[in-house]
């Protein structure tokens, strides 16, 4: 806090992180994290939660955006806003049918917030979840051995 350097505001889509290497008590430089990295954390965390089918938005376009490395299109499903010293994350997901929303949303909020603060050290003031659709589960894997017997 005593640091005089100002974190540049949201325009640069960057979060400043304390803890730079110091020589004689002076930080050697700044550490910044781009929103793209935070988007990746959000995406991977959310997709790792049971009950989440996918992020909303056109998955085809998002995948292409990913491939191309453009984070802007990914913004369709993940938005990151910069508060003073913290982040506000908004994520749009499609859950599977059969999961209760409040519990699922609470889990998303907790895990996303934890993952971001663990990895980046940046505070997350809120995680907003938008449920934009619902999907049926893909056919169950433990389909017994009916297929084998059918042969």
């Amino acid at each position: 806090m005593s640091n005089t350097q100002q974190a540049r505001p949201a325009a640069d889509a960057v979060s400043s992180v304390p803890g730079a290497y110091e020589v004689n008590g002076t930080a050697v430089g700044t550490i910044r994290i781009l929103d793209g990295a935070i988007s990746t954390i959000v995406k991977r965390t959310v997709l790792g939660i049971e009950g989440v089918a996918r992020l909303s938005g056109s998955s085809l376009i998002d995948e292409f955006a990913d491939l191309v490395g453009s984070k802007r299109m990914l913004d369709r499903s993940i938005q990151i806003e910069h508060d003073d010293q913290s982040l506000v994350v908004t994520v749009a997901v499609n859950p599977y049918y059969g999961y209760k929303f409040p519990a699922l949303i609470a889990e998303i909020q907790r895990k996303v917030s934890d993952a971001i603060s663990t990895m980046t050290g940046v505070n997350v003031s809120s995680v907003n979840v938008n449920i934009k659709g619902i999907e049926d589960r893909p056919a169950e894997k433990p389909a017994q051995d009916t297929s084998k017997e059918a042969e």
Binding site: P18, A20, V23, R32
Partner: protein, 143 residues
């Protein structure tokens, strides 16, 4: 070393020398190798060019930017950190390694090393695990 201070004092010396930017970049690259949590420099891939083409404003094709003025040098380093690692620690380790590498080898004053974490991804998997001896065979001791 000539007892030169690295606290930012500029020492005007009669026998000036220059170190080319590419040398500093090479030194920085070498210094960063093997740092836990460091995956790669950003902007190595073709895709960033493509992203550029598609109107991505920021240019990531230069992962290490060196600014020299006299005997002082500052760097901006763009990296991808390991998913699950603590970015701040990775970045600080990068700063430390690069700082000492440049100070030790060039004698220049390092004014600043800014680290930008552009993305995060998994570390490449190494599957050269010997048969299950239960022995830890990690011979890599980084001094």
């Amino acid at each position: 070393m000539s007892g030169k201070d690295t606290t930012g004092k500029t020492v005007a010396e009669p026998n000036a020398y220059t170190v080319h930017e590419s040398v500093i970049i090479s030194l920085a690259r070498k210094a960063v190798e093997g740092i836990p949590g460091f995956i790669r420099f950003s902007g190595y891939s073709i895709v960033s060019d493509l992203a550029d083409l598609l109107g991505n404003k920021r240019r990531f094709d230069k992962s290490i930017v060196v600014t020299e003025s006299g005997n002082e040098v500052s760097l901006e380093i763009l990296i991808v950190a390991a998913y699950g690692s603590k970015f701040g620690e990775v970045a600080a380790a990068v700063q430390e390694a690069v700082y000492h590498q440049i100070v030790d080898f060039t004698g220049m004053t390092v004014k600043g090393i800014d680290v930008v974490i552009t993305d995060t991804e998994d570390a490449p998997v190494e599957e050269e695990k010997p048969e299950d001896d239960g022995e830890v065979v990690e011979g890599e001791v980084i001094q």
